[in-house]
């Protein structure tokens, strides 16, 4: 049988366990994702449907007629996976299927894959009509920040 003291210790342990689990859950999550574009793109907001169209290569031009150049990180990159799920509401493999089909059938081109987030930011900054995503917008300058609306 447990004594009242044992019960108290048990409760404290349980509370600590919950705190640790909750802390771990939040710490393992990547912070909010921002969509960025090159300054030549004349758009500062997109609907989720429009963003999906751009990343599934169904919309190839900005409103001002400039061709859209799509940049991504590798399919298994955690930031890319989070971007797909949260911003596009798609699973990464769905985009892979669409892009592979375009690339290897000749009916289109896939987004340009870069190795790091820094490379992605530089590519968006310097490439006419480019679009991409970043984890932390505070240190990124000279790009459009695109608001995604439902």
């Amino acid at each position: 049988m447990f004594s009242p003291v044992d019960h108290k210790e048990e409760n404290i342990k349980t509370i600590f366990s919950y705190i640790i689990v909750i802390t771990l859950l939040f710490s393992s999550k990547v912070s909010a994702i921002n969509i960025i574009s090159n300054l030549t793109a004349d758009t500062t907001s997109l609907s989720v449907a429009q963003l999906r169209r751009i990343y599934s290569m169904r919309q190839a031009h900005w409103h001002n007629g400039i061709p859209i150049v799509v940049y991504v990180l590798a399919s298994k990159n955690p930031l890319h996976q989070q971007f797909c799920r949260e911003q596009l509401r798609l699973f990464p493999y769905q985009l892979d299927r669409i892009w592979h089909k375009l690339t290897f059938s000749g009916y289109g081109v896939a987004p340009i894959e870069v190795d790091t987030q820094q490379a992605l930011i530089e590519a968006v900054k310097t490439t006419k009509g480019a679009i991409g995503y970043v984890e932390n917008i505070s240190e990124v300058k000279n790009v459009n920040i695109i608001k995604v609306e439902d």
């Binding site: 169904r58 919309q59 190839a60 298994k76 493999y93 896939a110």
Partner: protein, 409 residues
């Protein structure tokens, strides 16, 4: 490596006045970096090698030994000429043993014209050698990592007719329409002919056929619909093709005409853990001549497959597929076929049923292994189809296992 290739940025050539204007613009909007166009050339490719073993059929080879005839290599390039025109081409080397003619070929080589577009519509025309883009996996059937398994369903993607079905020389048009309420629509139409080599004639009609097979006409239409924000996609396709056989002086067969009408309906579900896909087909094959002058046969074949993939974790998935096909809907068990041939062609040549269990594991973003096992009943999807080979395929039940490693960039 290739990422850096893709990232190479064109050197901008400014004359003095443009440079001054550009500088003014930069200052006015606070730009630090130059804005340049993206590199117009993209290069991608793949290499896949596997081992395959078939027992009790000549699906891959006559010896039924373990084989390395599971090689697929491809390289493609896309070059954006300007805002409206793009050139693209892909060369592949394929070796699947008896499944299709081994060797190199130009898979596609086309000029794309982006004829009209806005935020909701996109209409593009393609001229040259274009791929069949009408069935669920037709444009990805030779791409090891883009198709669902090493051997995809032979109901729709029968290897014996691969070279006729994979595409052709002609033109295609693709219209994409996006509607926030109704979803995404794709309309595809193509018209073209496939060149047919002597090796391909052997695969379709057998080595006794000495003549030439010509693809006279091929028109295909398909429509796809994905409801807005839905995990489902639905598609329909129709194909009308005609072929003619021109017999040689010393030939077992006579001049003939073939008409093939092929219809498919498909559905695809893409959930977080489960992917489901299904396709049903109906094919009408009219044969006029070939076996002897005046011969006429008009028969309708039907089939379907159901496929389920479960994503175990980020890298590992398992897959189960069942498929069923019969070449004559009025003779599903093949009794008439055996009777008409006087017992020379066994009844199991009238149908094809396959149960497949497979797995896929990703080592990295672009390096994967696929493995699968097939339990097959019936030989209706074995080559040559025009003249069945009951000596090589003397068993109703046969099995296949295969493991394939693949890398792509």
């Amino acid at each position: 490596m290739l990422t850096s290739l893709k990232l190479r940025i064109k050197t901008a050539h400014f004359n003095q006045s443009i440079f001054i204007s550009a500088c003014s613009l930069c200052f006015s909007v606070g730009l630090n970096a130059a804005e340049v166009n993206v590199e117009p050339l993209q290069v991608h490719g793949f290499v896949a090698q596997g081992i395959i073993d078939v027992d009790h059929s000549n699906f891959v080879n006559e010896s039924e030994n373990i084989s390395l005839e599971l090689t697929e290599v491809g390289i493609n390039a896309s070059y954006q000429l300007n805002d409206d025109f793009r050139l693209a081409g892909q060369a592949v080397y394929l070796n699947g043993g008896n499944r299709y003619a081994a060797g190199s070929r130009i898979d596609y080589l086309l000029l794309e014209w982006d004829a009209a577009h806005n935020e909701n519509w996109q209409t593009s025309f393609y001229f040259g050698r274009v791929k069949n883009n009408h069935w669920l996996y037709s444009s990805a059937r030779d791409i090891p990592f883009a198709r669902p398994s090493i051997i995809i369903s032979q109901v729709t993607y029968f290897d014996g007719l691969r070279d006729l079905a994979v595409g052709g020389d002609g033109a295609a048009v693709k219209v994409k329409y996006n509607n926030d309420e109704l979803g995404e629509f794709d309309l595809n139409f193509s018209r073209g002919k496939s060149p047919i080599s002597g090796k391909q004639v052997d695969i379709i009609a057998g080595k006794q056929a000495q003549g030439q097979l010509k693809h006279d006409l091929d028109a295909q239409l398909s429509i796809y619909w994905r409801p807005s924000f839905s995990a489902w996609q639905f598609g329909l396709s129709a194909n009308d093709a005609s072929f003619s056989y021109h017999s040689a002086q010393m030939d077992a067969y006579v001049n003939s005409d073939f008409t093939l009408q092929f219809y498919t309906a498909n559905a695809l579900y893409e959930g977080e853990f489960w992917q489901l896909s299904a396709e049903i087909i109906q094919e009408r094959l009219v044969t006029q001549g070939f076996y002897f002058p005046g011969f006429h046969r008009d028969q309708i074949g039907q089939g379907y497959y159901l496929q389920a993939r479960y994503q175990v974790d980020n890298d590992l998935s398992v897959q189960l597929r069942t498929e069923r096909y019969y070449s004559n809907k009025d003779d599903k068990n093949g009794s008439k076929l055996a009777q008409v041939s006087g017992g020379l062609v066994p009844s199991y040549f009238a149908f094809h049923n396959d149960l497949m269990l497979g797995m896929s594991y990703d080592f990295t973003n672009n390096f994967r292994v696929n493995a699968e096992y097939h339990w097959v009943e019936g030989t209706a999807r074995l080559s040559p189809i025009v003249q069945p080979d009951p000596i090589a395929n003397n068993s109703k039940n046969w099995q296949v296992w295969a493991i394939q490693l693949m890398y792509w960039f």
